[in-house]
């Protein structure tokens, strides 16, 4: 199977969405032979301005793909090739243009997936060691998420990190470093008018 290129001449945004969903349907059976996207072809993506809904759909589709990719080695391998060639990071770059909240939620989905195997291993549903292809994919995702968070605009860095870590924290216990990073991300530097009292008696007021 060959994944079609983005047809030239499509008018954004609806036709892009149609192309996207059509591509998704073709990839979905997962007998993948990923089409190699050239730099030129990828650059054609950038000519399309997509709606938030379309990009959200795209991201949900990718996440669903990743979830299913965790179920067997063949799919994992297919996914690994596919992300390597299209580039999840590129998709997230698109998402970044339309809203950081969606971006971070999607990143957290990927982190959740990467942690999923470990959870299954803990209850001995799967072997502790990841299948080689899946392990490679997890590293691949971790790297991409790290790249993603590093590339996020510094102005929003703390907001994004807080949102991401709080979302991850609902799925699993944060590591010590993550806990420190979260505390730092939500910390406030508000100016002080009067030094807050350390005494509880001053807070409640006396009679």
């Amino acid at each position: 199977m060959v994944i079609p290129l983005v047809p030239q001449g499509l008018e954004p945004p609806s036709q892009f969405g149609e192309w996207l969903s059509g591509t998704a349907r073709q990839i979905a059976p997962l007998s993948l032979s990923p089409k190699r996207f050239s730099v030129t072809e990828i650059s054609t993506f950038e000519n399309y301005i997509c709606s938030v809904e379309e990009l959200t759909d795209l991201c949900e589709w990718i996440v669903d793909f990743v979830r299913r990719a965790g179920q067997d080695d063949d799919t994992a391998l297919a996914f690994d090739k596919w992300t390597g060639e299209l580039g999840l990071l590129y998709v997230f770059e698109e998402l970044k243009r339309v809203g950081t909240e969606t971006l971070i939620d999607s990143s957290a989905d990927l982190v959740e997936i990467a942690d999923g195997w470990k959870s299954l291993a803990r209850v001995r549903i799967v072997e502790p060691d990841l299948p080689p292809q899946l392990a490679k994919r997890v590293i691949h995702l971790d790297t991409r998420i790290r790249e993603l968070t590093e590339e996020v605009n510094r102005q929003h860095d703390n907001d994004l990190v807080a949102r991401l870590l709080m979302r991850i924290g609902r799925q699993r216990e944060l590591t010590l470093d993550e806990q420190f990073r979260l505390a730092d991300a939500v910390r406030l530097d508000w100016k002080v008018k009067e030094e807050p009292s350390v005494r509880r008696a001053d807070w409640y007021g006396d009679d």
């Binding site: 924290g169 420190f180 939500v186 406030l188 530097d189 508000w190 002080v192 030094e195 005494r199």
Partner: protein, 155 residues
């Protein structure tokens, strides 16, 4: 069982706000305890007291956004263990009120003590000297004393 330390609201406020005095000492101590595997505990009462202080214009005068404070409150369970007020703590409180002849505002401190003892916690990290009244039942860990000790060690 890992060592447990109860964190008072005055330390919590200085951990999450960088401008009040002793922010550095409070942050250093909590991070050091965390790094050593000590469990840091707070209670619903501590959270409410933290929120009351954080929203006081007497302390923070600018028209700030309470969303930022609420986000801290939401993040608390990811850094601290939170003890719920149990029946055991409620039943313990009267005996503590009687023993220490507690009146008026010290009742709030006594309630903290009841929560701590009901959960096998006998160390409180605080800047409030009022807890010295309960020093036969609780050990006080002051971020300032810790800082002073460190200075002495390095000197």
């Amino acid at each position: 069982m890992a060592a447990r330390v109860f964190v008072d609201a005055n330390v919590l406020l200085r951990f999450y706000f960088s401008e009040p005095g002793h922010h550095r000492e409070c942050t250093a101590l909590l991070e050091k305890l965390k790094g050593k595997g000590v469990e840091l505990w707070i209670s619903g009462q501590v959270i409410r007291e933290f929120y009351v202080q954080a929203t006081r214009t007497q302390y923070f005068p600018d028209p700030n956004n309470i969303d930022d404070i609420i986000r801290i409150v939401e993040a608390l369970p990811l850094f601290f263990h939170i003890v719920d007020e149990s029946r055991e703590a409620r039943e313990l409180l009267p005996s503590l009120l009687l023993k220490y002849q507690v009146r008026k505002l010290l009742t709030h401190d006594a309630n903290h003590l009841a929560m701590m003892l009901a959960n096998d916690i006998d160390i409180i990290c605080t800047l409030d000297s009022n807890f010295e009244d309960f020093s036969d039942r609780v050990n006080i860990l002051s971020p300032l004393a810790e800082d002073a000790r460190k200075s002495e060690d390095s000197g």
